[in-house]
């Protein structure tokens, strides 16, 4: 892909003994992008993230972070990463402030700049009221935020967050999502979750992993284009006769007309759905149209289709291969 890729992981594999947890995953992250890693429990999201952050070594494959090979120069490459694992790695017996200062020293931030770095992180994660409390006494949400503060403290190019909103109350979830969106402006973010709306809310691009394999990878803008779908549902107040049905079937490019109920139909087109001609037809025949709904393929539908079908089926493998191209998946 392009040269400004911040993370470029190629052919990642990871075995736990005999168990093949991550199978040949490719992952690219560009500057200023928020990438959502989606997948059911045990799909290999966390393993992938642990590999990207150098916590575990891949069984095979290469990871290049901002032009530095993670496996060859781990110290240099790790300086570019901020990581929040599933459980925030915070010492419960330290205060939030002490902990953050300790983190600045681990990241080689010089003493004179440490104060500023800590202040910025505290401000961004809205920790002002709890800085002098023991982390062990903070609520889960605040601990999570201390974890995020730790991850962005050294102003890394890439921030990797593993299920950052798990176990938080709705208000805190919204706040953390806002924070992630804000981080996406000047950092690149990889976010793993199994909450679909979260991905839609904050991510630019989504990569779905199932059973260790990438089954889908696309940007939301392309997903939206793809969503000018080829299916619409139409409904009428009056019951349509056989003759009317024949008229409907004359619509250009119509592939199939499925009867859902007496007066509701699903039309499938070759290519994108032609709503205007349907509308025109209804007016010409004075059918009283009361529904005209384009059937969009939502992320949820894609996810369900990919994850709940057998991954060896053509759908899974075709999308995986053509994941980066704009191919229609049906």
């Amino acid at each position: 892909m392009s040269t400004n890729a911040l993370i470029k992981a190629v052919g990642l594999n990871r075995f736990y003994g005999e168990y093949h947890a991550v199978k040949n995953i490719n992952l690219t992250l560009h500057k200023g992008e928020v990438l959502g890693l989606l997948g059911p429990n045990g799909a290999g999201k966390s393993s992938t993230m642990q590999m990207l952050t150098g916590n575990i070594a891949p069984s095979s494959g290469s990871i290049v972070i901002n032009g530095i090979d993670l496996l060859e120069e781990p110290k240099l490459a790790k300086g570019q990463i901020g990581y929040l694992p599933e459980q925030p790695p915070v010492y419960r017996d330290m205060t939030a402030k002490e902990f953050l200062f300790y983190c600045t020293s681990l990241h080689n931030i010089p003493k004179d700049k440490a104060q500023k770095a800590v202040n910025v992180a505290i401000e961004r994660c809205a920790l002002e009221t709890v800085v002098n409390k023991l982390i062990g006494n903070l609520s889960k949400g605040y601990q999570q935020r201390v974890g995020i503060a730790q991850a962005i403290l050294h102003n890394p190019e890439v921030v990797i967050l593993d299920e950052p909103t798990v176990g938080l109350d709705p208000i805190q979830i919204t706040k953390i999502r806002d924070l992630i969106r804000e981080l996406g402006k000047d950092h690149s973010v990889i976010l793993s979750t199994h909450i679909l709306p979260e991905v839609q809310a904050v991510c630019d691009r989504v990569q779905i992993i199932n059973q260790g394999e990438t089954v889908f990878s696309d940007t939301f803008s392309e997903l939206a284009q793809r969503q000018t779908s080829n299916k619409i549902i139409i409904g009428f107040d009056n019951v349509l006769s056989e003759l009317d049905l024949k008229v409907i079937n004359t619509i250009e490019n119509l592939r199939a007309c499925e009867v859902l109920s007496n007066n509701r139909f699903q039309l499938t087109f070759n290519g994108s759905a032609d709503t205007s001609s349907v509308y025109k037809l209804a007016v010409e025949n004075s059918w009283s149209l009361n529904e005209l709904t384009p059937q969009e393929e939502t992320l949820e539908q894609i996810f369900m289709k990919l994850v709940h079908t057998d991954t060896t089926s053509p759908i899974g493998s075709v999308t995986a291969q053509k994941a980066s191209q704009t191919e229609v998946i049906t």
Partner: protein, 253 residues
């Protein structure tokens, strides 16, 4: 190096964030002080009157100070595993080790930092123990050479305990297992010494392998470099094993 020191200081400080370090220091000091008092009592009431007239009477240093240091070493067989168990095992259990593994640090830096942290604690223990013979200067003159070598010997002995504990702590994610296995290993070395010294089948190798056989000369004021080398090899060996273990975790973990 800065990062190593910063890990070490934080580790040291964090020990005192919980009551553990305080209670260990307090109990140690109390028990050793009682022992010290007992030895002094014995020296004043029985040994001194009996030997005062002889040509070369034994001094207070060899009668009182040496046994206290020996006892300190024995008690630390049980105490050190408790101090070292948490170093890696607790971090694993709480999943906080990720912080160090994600930071731009090598395994060597992590291990050295952690070890240096526990070393600060050991120095504190030896310094607090040193206050007891120091208190005797009010009433008598002391053999400072013996006190110095005893302190160095105790420092080396405890450092070797800590290195073994550090390694065993890196093997598990259960602090208590780390503590038990460390105690087992340390006590095994004591048993080696006892079996090597036993009447029937004494063994020079067993005696050499046990850490106490290298500690005793220090208490007599003998500073033998071969004893020093034994401790350094012991410490470096376990530190290298720990570093290897951390590196291996990334590959196999």
């Amino acid at each position: 190096m800065n990062k190593v020191l910063s890990i070490a200081f934080t580790e040291f400080k964090r020990m005192f964030n919980t009551p553990l370090a305080w209670s260990v220091l307090a109990v140690l000091q109390l028990v050793l002080a009682l022992l010290f008092l007992m030895f002094i009592e014995e020296f004043i009431t029985t040994i001194q009157p009996a030997t005062a007239t002889s040509a070369n009477p034994p001094g207070v240093t060899s009668i009182v100070v040496a046994p206290v240091y020996l006892w300190a070493g024995v008690i630390m067989l049980a105490v050190m595993p408790i101090m070292t168990m948490r170093i890696f095992a607790e971090e694993r259990m709480n999943k906080t080790l990720t912080l160090l593994l994600t930071s731009p640090l090598s395994s060597t830096q992590i291990v050295l930092g952690k070890y240096l942290g526990i070393l600060f604690f050991i120095i504190l223990i030896v310094a607090l123990l040193g206050l007891m013979p120091l208190a005797l200067t009010v009433g008598t003159t002391l053999d400072w050479g013996v006190i110095l070598t005893s302190s160095i010997g105790l420092l080396l002995l405890l450092s070797s305990f800590a290195a073994a504990g550090l390694f065993l702590s890196s093997l598990t994610s259960q602090p208590i297992i780390a503590a038990v296995s460390t105690f087992g290993l340390l006590f095994f070395l004591v048993v080696l010494y006892m079996s090597g010294k036993s009447q029937g089948n004494s063994s020079e190798i067993f005696i050499y392998l046990s850490h106490f056989s290298h500690f005793l000369p220090f208490l007599e004021g003998v500073f033998d470099t071969s004893d020093l080398v034994y401790y350094l090899l012991f410490i470096v060996g376990f530190l290298v094993l720990t570093i290897r273990k951390l590196d291996n975790d990334r590959l196999l973990g």
